[in-house]
Symmetry: C2
Subunit: 370 residues, 2 copies
């Protein structure tokens, strides 16, 4: 099997668990955060910088790579790993989320989604078969079924029909998938309706995917509602398979996601806010562009040992950001990713030592928002 | 003495020479190219990347740092070295070139130059004394006298008056300079008039600076005219002191500058064209954004061992640049600086082995423009 999951430790009081994810490009400890490299690059980072901070799997986007530079070109380059010079894990999403986000520029049918490229306006079409073909060419270790992310809010009938179609599409993806060295994950949908989530789990689990993502959360709903959906959905998933919560990457949601039994996460949050000049710390965000840091010669985060915090001050980073210098957002990106990867490592350690509930309590006692 | 120069080898047939520049932050082999870090950062690079490619001295800009973040703040941070975390050599220019480039926004008097900030329009004033005070606060190893760069073309009378004022200003800079751990270089002006160049050399050499820059070249004049000025001016400078040709950094001009006896160069060229997607190679430029490189999986330069060329293809770098990804211009910047530093190293080697004229001939045989 291309990808397998070993459950190492189950928290005795919550759903939290520690595991190992085996892939053709390495074995990675879970729970894991996957930095996002939308266009075959984690924005502003080299592969070596990602390795230095301990990144294991990164995520890249089928939609973007399909349009530019094209999956055939990436395949010629030896797949995404060769193209971008990254020899650790890669997960590609299916492009579903991006094409559905195009709004009026796309049209859904049972067959697939017709849309216009955001780059040149050209007519394009993605179907379960096409999205799978593209992802086979890209050659990631883990690829995702082509789904519709049910928007929030959504009427019950729409959510039901969409979720049922996602299941039919998942089946078509599975039939189209023909690379033994990569794993195809199914994506649970169902909107904010528990019975639809239950049906989605039931149907997709019957298709026996090697891993399951939970999609359609963190799409604008209140956080308590997301947590309610996780509490309802995650325990229904097979314990011996990896669980991936898509699009989640703020510290609070990571802690809660882990508590409910999620193993994998991805989000543009840490890299995006870094480029806007915000540093993540254990006690909340630090907007380093603010005037109060002009003469502050301390590191971004007193509790951090990343390249940025070992060598550069808030005052210098603020100067770089105010001067629109690339090094500024490189340094904040390094810090935020390092912070988040270390944060995941600490959660894993707490699970291994069966003290995750105390870790979570401590986190919430200190946390002031992000 | 803060900075001294040791002449190691003189070419037997041309003015080319190899030397060593001793500074409080290391000893650097000449001829040397100094990457430009205008706003206390060489654009897109970390200090460690610069070190890895063997950079010795970098240049930073008094005008920009005076306006933002301000020299007092930099001094508080431990000077430029501490502020930007760079423990090798730094040279700051005097700000003269930048304020004179402001055109209608500045007004020259014998006292100095009144101008408006390009950032917020605020009224500012730089004089020889102020520029020296600012540079003392910044704390570079080598600082420059406040001069007027005679524009091209310039009438004889203007060039003469301007050059004479630059001499008077150089004297004022020298009187104002009071840091024994940094060296103040004088700047030869004189426009394209040989007798004014001769007078400028005579006057500045009588002030006994520890090094001399040649300013007012590479300002739009035809290259043969620049070479004529170098041929005329450089031999008049004291052999035992370092000679710095300001604003020059294309391979052809570097070869010719070295031939006439220049030891130090700086230019934004390699980093600026890198950000525009142009890679420098021994046989000329490679515009990697061009469509012909879309499926070219070779490195930028077959003859290069830089981080970029060891790990990434033209096709990938083109994709990054087309997608406006920061990694694209990071990779081209690394390559161009590495290329140019290695190019300087090869010239030095040729001088040491007394085969510089053959090196130069080979260069011109291959060179196709940049």
């Amino acid at each position: 099997m291309a990808v397998s999951f070993e459950l190492i430790k189950q928290c005795s009081k919550t759903g939290a668990r520690a595991g190992k994810l085996y892939t053709p490009h390495g074995v990675f400890e879970t729970p894991i955060f996957m930095p996002v490299g939308t266009q075959a690059t984690v924005k502003a980072m080299t592969p070596d910088e990602l390795k230095a901070m301990g990144a294991g799997i990164i995520l890249s986007n089928t939609y973007h790579l399909f349009l530019r530079p094209g999956h055939e070109l990436v395949a010629e380059a030896g797949g995404l790993h060769g193209f971008m010079h990254w020899d650790r894990g890669i997960l590609t999403d299916s492009g579903g989320f991006q094409v559905f986000s195009l709004g009026s520029l796309r049209k859904i049918s049972e067959e697939g989604v017709a849309f216009r490229s955001h780059i040149d306006g050209s007519k394009q079409f993605l179907s379960p078969e096409k999205a799978t073909e593209v992802q086979m060419a890209l050659g990631a270790d883990i690829i995702m079924a082509f789904d519709e992310c049910v928007p929030y809010p959504a009427e019950y009938d729409y959510a039901r029909q969409s979720t049922e179609r996602t299941t039919r599409w998942a089946e078509r993806c599975k039939r189209a998938h023909a690379r033994k060295d990569q794993a195809l994950f199914g994506i649970i949908q169902g909107g904010m309706y528990k019975e639809l989530r239950t049906a989605s789990v039931r149907d997709l689990v019957s298709l026996d995917f090697p891993g399951y993502a939970i999609g359609g959360l963190s799409v604008g709903e209140p956080k308590p509602l997301m947590y309610e959906m996780l509490e309802h959905t995650v325990p229904q998933l097979p314990a011996r398979k990896p669980r991936y919560l898509m699009g989640v990457g703020t510290p609070d949601c990571l802690v809660e996601g882990v508590m409910y039994g999620i193993d994998m996460f991805d989000c543009v949050f840490p890299t995006r806010v870094a480029r806007n000049g915000t540093a993540m710390t254990a006690s909340g965000r630090l907007v380093v562009k603010n005037a109060e840091f002009a003469r502050d010669f301390r590191p971004l985060d007193m509790d951090c040992d990343c390249y940025t915090c070992r060598n550069f001050s808030r005052a210098y980073i603020r100067h770089l950001l105010k001067s629109e210098e690339i090094l500024g957002l490189r340094l904040t990106t390094i810090h935020n990713l390092h912070f988040l990867l270390r944060f995941m490592g600490k959660m894993r350690q707490a699970i291994m030592e069966d003290r995750f509930p105390a870790f979570r309590q401590e986190f919430w006692d200190k946390y002031q928002g992000h």
